[in-house]
């Protein structure tokens, strides 16, 4: 099977004798038998650690759960600095979690979580921080400071949790470079290996923001200047 992999300066084609293998199995074989210099990341081999996200034929996948096909073109994630070959630097994207305060700020010990309450943010807490959504999000091309899909999903996880005693503080935090900067294009949802829709979470956060008295800043400027259309796709967002 022939595949091309983006290396430091160029695409390189590898011919590997393998069938019905995951991309990670193929990378392991190249690394140990053909070309020791190839760099990529892996850990669990079972889609839970989020190490092995790459792009295949322009779409984000987990190498350990993608069955590699003849002619595949393999590249690193976008929107993050390249460290080497298929490895990118996640530092900045992960710092979005800190800026967005994705944690339980104040524990409301009175809250009683039932089986039904648990379902409210079960999906959001399945996030493996693989960075696929961040790579797919077009907003970074114009705003590097955007908090981005996984961090905002993380915020919704806590805002929607009855145990969070200060949801307002979270909503305050995500007004700038946050919920209103998303174009609701849905690219993040399409690539998430865990079936999470950050777009949907962002819409819920917008609705919550409105409840707390915040307004879509794009409405105010609509028709105003060059930037104004950005972040607003013409349809109601919630």
């Amino acid at each position: 099977m022939k595949v091309t992999i983006q290396r430091e300066y160029d695409f390189i084609e590898y011919d590997v004798d393998m069938q019905d293998a995951t991309l990670l199995e193929l990378l392991d074989k190249i690394k140990t038998q053909q070309d020791n210099t190839l760099a990529y990341s892996s850990g669990c081999r079972s889609s839970v650690c989020g190490s092995c996200a790459v792009r295949v034929n322009d779409k984000e996948v987990l190498a350990c759960s993608y069955k590699v096909q003849e002619g595949d073109k393999i590249e690193p994630l976008k929107n993050m600095p390249l460290l080497r070959d298929l490895v990118v630097d996640m530092q900045k994207s992960l710092e979005a979690n800190k800026r967005a305060k994705t944690w339980l700020s104040s524990y409301n010990s009175e809250a009683k979580l039932t089986h039904e309450d648990e379902k409210i943010n079960e999906l959001q807490s399945d996030c493996i921080l693989c960075g696929s959504c961040y790579s797919a999000c077009p907003v970074y091309a114009v705003n590097e400071e955007f908090l981005g899909p996984f961090a905002l999903t993380g915020v919704w996880k806590y805002v929607s949790d009855k145990r969070e005693g200060e949801p307002k503080e979270k909503i305050d935090t995500i007004q700038t470079n946050g919920v209103w900067d998303c174009t609701l294009c849905n690219e993040c949802t399409v690539v998430c290996p865990q079936g999470i829709s950050s777009k949907a979470d962002i819409e819920k956060l917008r609705a919550k923001s409105s409840q707390f008295g915040y307004m879509d800043p794009n409405f105010g400027n609509f028709g105003g200047g060059f930037d104004s259309g950005f972040g607003f796709d013409g349809s109601p967002s919630f």
Binding site: R45, G50, V87, G154
Partner: protein
Amino acid sequence: MKTDVLIIGAGGAGLTAAIAAKKAGVDVVVLTKEYPTRSQTCMAQGGINAALGNVAADSIEDHIQNTLKSAHGLASEEAVRYMCSEAPATIAWLDSIGVCFSRTADAKITQRKLGGASAPRACYAQDYTGLKILHTLYEEALKHDVEMKNEKLLLEILTDENGVACGAVVMDIRSGSKESYFAKSVILATGGYSRIYDKNSTNSVKSTGDGIAVAARAGAKLLDMEFVQFHPTGLKNSSILISESARGEGGYLLNSKGERFTNELAPRDEVSRAIYAEMNKGEDIFLDIRHLGEAFIDEGLPQERKLAKLYENVDPVYDLIPIKPVAHYTMGGIEVDNNSQSSIEGLYACGECSNHRVHGANRLGGNSLLEIVVFGREAGENAAKRAQEIASHATASAKDDFLAQEFTQELDFYTLREELGNLLYAKVGIVRRESELQEALGFVKECQQNLTKMGTQESSLRYNTNLIEFLEFRNMLDASEAVITGALARKESVGAHFMAKE
């Protein structure tokens, strides 16, 4: 760089230690060779034990007795009592920082029964228990402003002229340069060593026993390294874990003739040996859950269906799943005292790399996640206390100049790594014989002597994973040596260590 408490490893144990030390009021730095959320802790599915009695009667005393029984007399009763008594408060703490545990209809944390437990005792978050605990700890550490440094590989523990730990040398994986960190106390939380069995292990590829090997080279004592727990149901080709709940819910084990041959609900070591004996007769072994039905499988075992399809090309709703027992958990590790301190003063250890004497010869499912949080906190608090009592930092320079040698690349370490894994599986695995242990030891020693004939093809230092894997291989050899010498010294069969007649 200087800090009060330096923690190496950012899995469940390392992050809990970091939060505890930070709360005690000292400066903390956590290093990991990956990113915190990629640590193996994310892979745990089954649950975390605590005698809450939320769905059926249970008691801390029963938890203690079940744990001691499984340990085959090799655990410390005091340590087990402490861990089990702390369990309910530990779950309450995890709940208070936001872990999304599965709930009962009346708003309690729900529980399920894992092997060896006399009651449903394991709290869980669907089949993502480890993932949700690890991520919540990570977020709590962000909240407390814990300094985390990613992609740094531990090379060496530094000790001052009195033999007291005072820091560590690490390699920054991104640049390939060495960095020294000085600290008043150092905590190792680097995880287990099951990857010495290479592909015959459920573990993350990063569980290469680094912290244990590095600590031993610095003079720390190791304890009970021969105890390696084999999980009966790893997928045959990839060794990816099929959860014990598949058998707990009524799955059968079958041989090639379609016969059941053992009690599926016996302890892990017994089931693994029964499967291994069949395999030695030339049988292929399968897990059969077809009779549980599609609806049940999709609701209760969704990950297992996905993984069986992906890695074995079988759909468990209609097909048998090919399995084999594989290395899963390592009970042995760095010996520590009641304060989680190793035999080197100032060097602490917690989590799977340590041996707090709570698992003895066999760990109970659900007790490891409990251990990493209970003793992670202990290690963090004790290391912080020590740091507060010490006036100033000591410094020392590196002693281990392993990479300064000349490497000739006559031998390919990737080939040897695979050979090591297969050899250990066959000869230092589920059933052991003295002559075979000797043979394996010979191979390990030869590899150790030949390290300079290996080395790496890739010479650039920048993000050189070839070099990282070579350094990990060296650690795997040292961990393997400790496992085999431990096994040779323990003549009688006990728990996970089973000696057969020649």
